[in-house]
């Protein structure tokens, strides 16, 4: 997988350790957590689910008295968010706000720093961002000679290595005397090693949330197979259901729809790869079909497209597709759905013939092509069915 954000709370606790004075609260824990606070200090309450620019969206409250924290948090939860971070409020002059980000790269790390942080950093020129390149050797060792006043850069680089943090953005931070205070912090971890991290961090990894039952179902199907299956809903009331195979070919297929000016008609981005079995393919396609059936569009096309597969068996996966179509054939007919196909690879002739025969026998409008048709041509082809 890829880089995935973690909560601000988890990132701060990793960087600051025991010194960190913030709390993480959920709808279930907030009342108990607040009851334990024995202070007259006021607090900041922020939604902590990886959303940026919280101030502009009203997802953060300043100067909250202890007695009001629970109420404020519940108000934020009621907006549909399930976690907040609660920190002691500390006043500062916005002129002191500084900016720092660390991005791990193939050559080491790139550190961007500015003494003009906060909202000012949006304007790159005014922020006068400084770039520090840190070498691969220094990054791996967690020890660099690069120094930024007040910032424990070496500690952070070492922690990034230890916890597979790939990206940190601290905006703003404040230097008071010897201490570096982190006011706002965004971090991403390398999800490939997520299962090696301590349990408490795992709960703070902000994986893409399923936005529908269908997305949830596909996430579960994906977890249960060696192959890769995914579903990302774009426009649930669009006309085109995509079923792409391969990470690269799926981009090209989507590009072809963009080129044909069909972007806003695309229901989903869906890609399978890594040779799913016939049964796995069938279950996955059935889930995708449910999304298509639910669309309010009065025109519907299924686009099945991929390149010339290296070793994914076209017959096996197409048998799975036909199995799924067969189960829902009546709805496919009632909703007048057409099918456009472009695919190649091992057993392509048999696979394409199997699907074509099925579509013909049920009188479904279709076009089934092998790689003699350009993958880029699927956009205009789909358009001709709308």
């Amino acid at each position: 997988m890829a880089r995935v954000p973690i909560t601000e709370y988890a990132a701060k606790r990793l960087l600051l350790g025991e010194a960190y004075r913030g709390y993480t609260v959920t709808p279930d824990t907030v009342d108990v957590a607040v009851a334990a606070l024995n202070t007259t200090q006021s607090y900041v309450v922020k939604v902590d689910v990886g959303i940026k620019k919280r101030g502009l969206q009203g997802l953060l409250r300043l100067n909250v008295a202890v007695a009001e924290i629970a109420e404020v948090a519940h108000a934020l939860f009621s907006l549909g968010h399930n976690r907040c971070i609660v920190e002691p409020m500390s006043a500062h002059d916005s002129g002191d706000e500084k900016y720092l980000s660390i991005n791990l790269t193939r050559d080491g790390a790139v550190v961007l720093q500015s003494d003009h942080g906060g909202i000012a950093v949006e304007d790159a020129e005014a922020a006068a961002l400084q770039t520090h390149d840190i070498s691969r050797t220094e990054t791996i060792a967690g020890s660099t000679t690069t120094s930024i006043p007040g910032v424990p850069l070496n500690d952070w680089l070492a922690l990034m290595q230890q916890y597979h943090l790939s990206f940190l953005e601290i905006n703003p931070y404040i230097i008071t005397g010897d201490t570096c205070r982190l006011l706002d912090l965004a971090a991403e971890i390398d999800s490939t090693k997520a299962n090696r991290l301590p349990d408490w961090i795992q709960e703070h990894i902000l994986y893409k949330k399923a936005s529908s039952d269908a997305e949830r179902a596909v996430l579960e199907q994906d977890a249960r197979t060696q192959a890769a299956l995914n579903l990302h809903t774009l426009n649930p009331d669009g006309a085109i259901l995509t079923l792409f195979s391969g990470g690269g070919a799926s981009l090209v297929g989507l590009d072809a729809l963009v080129t044909a000016d069909l972007s806003d008609q695309v229901i989903n981005y869906s890609e399978y790869s890594g040779a799913p079995t016939r049964d796995e393919t069938a279950a996955y396609v059935k889930t995708l079909l449910s999304v298509l059936f639910a669309s309010t569009s009065d025109q519907k096309v299924i686009l099945i497209a991929g390149g010339v597969a290296n070793f994914t068996d076209v017959l096996q996966t197409f048998q799975g597709i036909v199995d799924a179509f067969g189960d829902d054939i009546e709805t496919i007919k009632t909703q007048n759905i057409s099918v456009v196909v472009r695919r190649g690879g091992p057993n392509q002739a048999a696979g394409l013939a199997h699907l074509r025969a099925f579509l013909e026998s049920h009188h479904i409008a279709h076009e089934v092509h092998d790689p003699s048709l350009s993958l880029g041509a699927v956009g205009t082809l789909v358009q001709s069915y709308l």
Binding site: R3, R106, R136, I140, T192, S250, L251, L254, S263, V308
Partner: protein
């Protein structure tokens, strides 16, 4: 570098037993007219050999549990194809280059190798090795190398890739699209100088620029077809290299991933395929490459149309076979005995030696030694166990097969079958650097006989003339005799304890044959070990002595001897 590779044999170690990919590599090799498969060994668990198709016939590929074991066996690999889990892939890559420091490169098939591990691999190997991945489908140099699933598994495509190369380099992020583009380049009438899939991860070990540089430095490559995608900064590095004259060959490019989402940045299929900033979008990268004169296609159909402008160079692979597909489309998995073709061997002994060692050629010195051994071991008189059994069986009225079998059944540690046991003594002591003293002490402590030492009839005062003759034969032919030297040192100690604890025929034959196989046939320590484990050395006794048993049978028949009964004096009454 590519020229160098094109003119030499390539040998791959495959970690992970992905039968389909392995067979596709063998099909490619066969079509390319190679006399030997490019796969040297498979690293996996299970059986020691695995059967695959080789054109219309079949071959066995050796299987080892570890990379170190393959090297110890003598497999000289220069590529690693790693088809295993992310964690194991990292470990195997380190093990491979530690074992083969001069190897050329690798392909890591796994998706999900951690960024930290990738960066660490780049730090260690990035400058010197060609490593395709993590993820993707590998590297193909038509006619020379197919390292991975790249180019697919279909016979006609593999035949085409094996039989000719050309002047177009394909460099691609995506495993599926590299095969698609290779197919379309061929459909447009052009051939490839090479195709590399660097993978969809954030940190490919060999970077896109390094693959471009390989193309730039390759005389055969005239132009580069590039497929990139949204995410990361690779295209800006390429832009700068082109601007600074590091890359001068024409580049045709497509950058995939133009869909712009209104709400959030979408994570597409590949780990890298996410545009968090404006510079990571496909559109920004297209603009960057266009700014230095790269032909960047606006649509994928335009990209395909560009392929008609590619040079139509056709460099036939020497000795390429006219081959499209092996007849059986099933991948074989069952082991069965090899069918030996009749091979012209100069003599009966040479034929036997090649057959029992499982090799095609064998040196005349080893053959001469075996000839002497066989001559010495045909018979040792009628008083020994096996001879008696043959004769008793014959005289009970049975046939030749029964008499031979009865004789053979006596062969074991006490009679004739100590050659293998003796080989074990010499070989394991030498392998573990034990001195003669240590060996003798060990056996004495365990109260065990040392096989290969001791005789019923001969002793230090009356040496076995056959042993003397064999030692003289071996010393004359060999430069070094480490196994024999150790055996004689052991004899020097044991014969001081008792005069008949001398090196016997079993001992000298096994020691000298170990020396012959090492020096004349280039057997490695591990290969010698395997011969001992499968009881090979006892064949040296069974083969000639079978002749002796047949002789015992024929003698008895010729003389028409009657039923044999043991003399009363050979038993006792109670």
């Amino acid at each position: 570098m590519l020229d160098q590779l094109r003119s030499h044999n390539q040998t791959i170690l495959v970690v992970g037993n992905h039968v389909g990919i392995i067979q596709s590599i063998l099909d490619f090799d066969y079509a390319a007219g190679k006399t030997k498969p490019s796969i040297g060994a498979i690293i996996s668990t299970g059986r020691k050999r695995q059967k695959f198709f080789w054109g219309d016939g079949e071959i066995l590929i050796p299987v080892f549990a570890t990379i170190e074991a393959a090297a110890a066996w003598g497999i000289a690999a220069n590529w690693l194809l790693c088809i295993s889990s992310p964690t194991s892939s990292v470990r195997m890559t380190h093990a491979f280059f530690a074992t083969y420091p001069d190897a050329t490169g690798a392909h890591l098939f796994a998706e999900g190798i951690a960024e930290r591990d990738a960066v660490s691999l780049i730090e260690t190997y990035g400058a010197d090795k060609l490593i395709a991945g993590p993820s993707g489908v590998g590297l193909c140099i038509p006619g020379t190398l197919k390292l991975g699933a790249i180019g697919g598994v279909k016979g006609d495509r593999l035949a085409a890739l094996g039989s000719a190369s050309g002047s177009t380099a394909v460099i691609c992020s995506s495993g599926g699209m590299v095969n698609e583009i290779m197919y379309q380049v061929a459909a447009a009438g052009s051939n490839l100088s090479f195709a590399a899939c660097y993978g969809g991860d954030r940190f490919p070990i060999t970077s896109p620029l390094q693959w471009f540089t390989l193309a730039e430095q390759d005389a055969q490559t005239k132009e580069i077809v590039y497929f990139g995608e949204l995410g990361g900064q690779d295209e800006y590095v390429l832009r700068d290299a082109i601007k600074n004259g590091i890359i001068t060959k024409p580049v045709y490019a497509y950058i995939a991933g133009r869909y712009q989402s209104s709400d959030e940045a979408i994570q597409f299929g590949h780990a890298k395929a996410l545009a968090k900033t404006e510079s990571e979008t496909a559109a920004a990268k297209m603009t960057a490459l266009k700014s230095v004169g790269v032909a960047v296609a606006d649509t994928f159909e335009d990209f395909m149309a560009m392929f008609s402008k590619l040079e139509q160079t056709n460099i036939p692979t020497p000795h390429a076979r006219d081959w499209t597909e092996r007849p059986a489309n099933l991948v074989p998995t069952n082991y069965s005995a090899p069918t030996y073709q009749h091979r012209t061997q100069p003599s009966f002994t040479a034929g036997i030696a090649a057959r029992i060692l499982g090799v095609e050629t064998i040196s005349s010195e080893t053959v001469a030694f075996l000839d002497t051994v066989f001559a010495e071991l045909i018979d040792h008189g009628p008083h020994v166990s096996g001879a008696i059994n043959s004769m008793v069986t014959t005289r009970a009225g049975r046939d030749m097969s029964s008499a031979l079998a009865a004789g053979v059944l006596t062969v074991g540690d006490r009679f004739g079958g100590a050659i293998n046991g003796a080989a074990h003594v010499w070989q394991s002591a030498l392998q573990s650097d034990q001195t003669a003293d240590q060996v003798v002490d060990d056996y004495a402590r365990r109260r065990e006989y040392i096989l290969g030492i001791g005789h019923r009839k001969y002793n230090v005062y009356k040496p076995d003339p056959r042993v003397q003759a064999l030692i003289a034969h071996g010393r004359a032919a060999l430069l070094q005799t480490p196994h024999l030297d150790l055996a004689l040192n052991i004899e020097a100690l044991t014969s001081q304890k008792r005069a008949n604890l001398i090196l016997n025929v079993d001992g000298v034959v096994s020691a000298l044959l170990l020396d012959y196989l090492t020096e004349k046939e280039q057997f490695t320590t591990v290969q010698l070990r395997e011969l001992i484990d499968i009881e090979f050395f006892n064949a040296l006794f069974l083969i000639p002595r079978s002749v002796g048993f047949i002789g015992n049978y024929l003698d008895q028949k010729r003389n028409d001897e009657g039923l044999l009964r043991l003399d009363e004096s050979d038993t006792y009454n109670y």
